[in-house]
């Protein structure tokens, strides 16, 4: 939404000492003041007439797969890293880490999201589901993936299974085209797409039988 960056100087030359991902501050090794402050204990300063401003290590509680899970995170910790590094929920995988590949897909309040571009702190009070909570029985999506060999190395699979589950919850009767489009937010490198599509259609059928 309103995404602005009001500091002077503007981004451009001022920021280009940080080459992408190199993690390197070429010009200076000193962290910015807020970064240092954030490393102190948790702070919550009240802005006049505004919401609380949070920084440092914050205790948060997330609703994951029907359980309340608590841990400490910084505001910058993504939902994905919080699940994987702090809560031992390692089903969602970190692959591109930039919201392109879908391996980190989780369901928040019924909708799939990329957990690598979601901040954990913003997920408090929302219902988070990962594939570890899915039914593994004969009418479940994981079963269909298994039977149709919709996985090889399996590292993209959690994302596909999650995207498929959420798609079928919203559209229990997808056409082949709808199923393809519904799973277009996920990338597989081994090349399991044929099995994935078969599994999605089979899972839709199996879910109907159950209903």
């Amino acid at each position: 939404m309103a995404e602005h960056d009001p500091t002077k100087p503007r981004p451009g030359t001022s920021r280009r000492d940080f080459l992408r991902g190199s993690g390197l501050a070429a010009a200076t090794a000193v962290l910015t003041a807020p970064a240092v402050a954030a490393l102190d204990e948790a702070k919550a300063a009240a802005v006049e007439d505004g919401p609380k401003v949070l920084s440092g290590e914050l205790p948060i509680t997330l609703q994951v797969n029907g359980h309340e899970m608590s841990c400490k995170v910084e505001p910058r910790s993504t939902l994905l890293d919080t699940l994987r590094h702090r809560l031992d929920v390692t089903g969602p995988k970190r692959v591109c880490d930039r919201g392109s590949c879908g391996a980190c897909t989780v369901i928040v309040d019924g909708d799939t999201v990329y957990s690598c571009t979601t901040l954990a702190v913003s997920c408090q009070g929302h219902e988070i589901r990962t594939l570890e909570s899915f039914d593994t029985g004969a009418t479940g999506v994981p079963h269909a993936f298994h039977q149709h060999d919709a996985l090889m190395c399996g590292y993209c699979t959690p994302g596909f299974v999650t995207a498929c589950k959420a798609m079928l919850e919203k559209n229990p009767n997808p056409t082949i085209e709808e199923a393809k489009r519904g799973l277009d937010g996920n990338i597989c490198r081994c090349g399991t797409y044929v099995g994935v599509l078969e599994a999605a259609m089979a899972a839709a059928k199996a879910m109907k039988k159950e209903a």
């Binding site: 993690g23 390197l24 390692t90 995988k93 996985l151 399996g154 277009d184 490198r189 797409y193 099995g195």
Partner: protein, 725 residues
Amino acid sequence: MPSWPEKPRLIGKSIPRIDGLAKASGKIKYPSDMRPEGTLFGVMLYSPHPHAKVTSIDTAAAEKMPGVKGVVVIAKAGATLRYHGDDIAGVAAETEEQARDAVRAIKVDYEILPHVVTEEDAVKPDAPKIVPSGNARKGRAQTTGDPEAAFKEADAVVEAEYSAPVITHVCLEPHGLTARWDRDDAITAWASTQAVGATAGELAGRFSIPVTNVTVLTEVMGGGFGSKFGADVWGLTAAELSKKAGGRPVKMFLDRIQEHLAGGNRPSAAGKVKIAGKKDGTVTAVVATTSGTGGARGGSNFPFPYVYAIKNVSREHTEIFVNGGGARAMRAPGHPQGCLIMEAAMDDLADKLGIDPLEMRLKNLNDGDKVVDANGKPTISRAGIYREQVPIGAKLIGWENRKPRGQNGKGPIKRGYGMALHQWGGGGTAVNKVTCTISPDGSVELKTATQDIGTGARTILAIIAAEILGLEVKDVISNIGNSTFPPGQGSGGSTTSPSMAPPAFNAVSKARDEFLARVGKAINEEPADLTLQDGKLDVKGKAVMSWKDACRKLGMMGVSVTEGFAEGLASGGVAGCQFADVTVDIETGVVKLNKIVAVQDSGLILDMLTWRSQVYGGVIGGLNYGLFEERVMDPGSGLMLNPDMELYKLAGLSDIPEIVVHAHDTPEMRARGVIGVGEPPTISTAAAIGNAVTNAVGVRVNKFPMSPMNVLNALNAASNKEGKA
């Protein structure tokens, strides 16, 4: 000599992989999921420059950062950094966020050196040298026959240039491992690797500890494609950081950017080709000057000419070095490149001769090329295999609908067909061992230090055991991915199945024989009268007790047998052909795949389901190469511009056409024993697509990938030429 059962109950059937549900439910732990007690997070600092010398490096500030438990410098003062992404240092901290902050607090001074990142720039006379001996290493021209004379007598000669860019492996699980010092001479590592043994060996070598004290664990792993052999710089750095931190585990996995920059790539390939033939379709001569870059590393060579028997040949390859991440073996190293250049030239010549490129291919097969049978004897004609496969593929794609180049109608939407042939070696090796243990409680375990990179290695071992013991696949525990187990094959070169199936067969067969001997003694029956089927023990063909009850007759001691390779069960050397049906919109240059057909032999297929998955996967890897993938380097800054999964393009589900996989599963092929299938089906897909696009649009699109840019540029170049003529 041992042989596979003639009428197998399980072998060759479609059997879901035994770890499939654990993977599909998110419950199995990958190496990158492991977070043993006390784990620290490791982050690498890597070069932001394509070419530089480190003049000084100061880690004092980083070491004082909150949570930091160790810093290791790899590129000390004086070290040369040769590419964007080259390793400089590693940090371990309590949280990953802290480690990332600390890496940014390492102060490095560089002497920036001039760089060169494109093949074109690298060979300019004033180009900065990446390798002391120069950026171009010209190979010796290899000539057979008399190409020049053949050109003079030819009915048609085609001269053209073809090229494909560098692509990267993009393993979904990044390279890396979690290392923990268990005591001062022992390490446990959870590694995402294709070779647990190699990784253990490198860790042991670096720290001078006995390799038997290093345990590398890879229960499952998220893809390798040839790029994950060994511990790597970052793996050794993790172990060193763990040592600094008093043995606490250090988890070090690359981020996606460094994965692209440093985790390996397939070298580029370019070829200037002159090819000549006779009206009857005989290819009489080919002369090629080829080149490619594997970055700051060799490895760009590739087989050429490819597949066909051509009498008069001259070929010269030049390795080019640039400031780019080094190549690593990538699924069928060299073959996709050789294939796409050769097969483009074949099609262009057929077009000029006015003959069907399918017929021309069959006419020029190499009848002297023999592949081995299960006894290791070269008795089987590869040309013969092609002659069986090509008509099958042609029928499945509808080759009869193909029109000659440029005759695809007046509208902007053009349909085209293309094909290509490929081959691969592979085969098994004799040094591996499998232990089969049958326990008194009825459990059966196979143990070996190989790993499953997603091909289904774990499952085929269980199938073999279940077949021989008359059990179901689920009754067998396939215990792999541990370097301390009996030696197992590294997963590469399509060698895993042919290397591991024979020792599994032998170990289980001998375990069964010993089992029957002991059980026979316990129940006073002749072992020769005993057989195992349907989970039961039979005496003279009649079931007398369940498998479990029979196992109880072992008393307190189970049966455990370790066995190795034997001739007669595996071989190597395959053919294969692929066909593509495409639609190209010549007003946008957008290529849509309608259908791809893959016909593939691979000896005795152990599990049809996972075998088919590998062929689908190979085709999809090939279609990515044909349509989407490209590492883009910026000449000015020397940086890779697309180290992501967005502008580094990979197919999604909507990009996948109908794919028809035909297993060339004949009695003759089955008799050859087990052959791997990891690489062959990825070789010819891009070549077939390139030929189909060219057939559709009427002009050769000579640069891969078949992007709108490359398609439109080829069309524009052709119409400009026409305009001038």
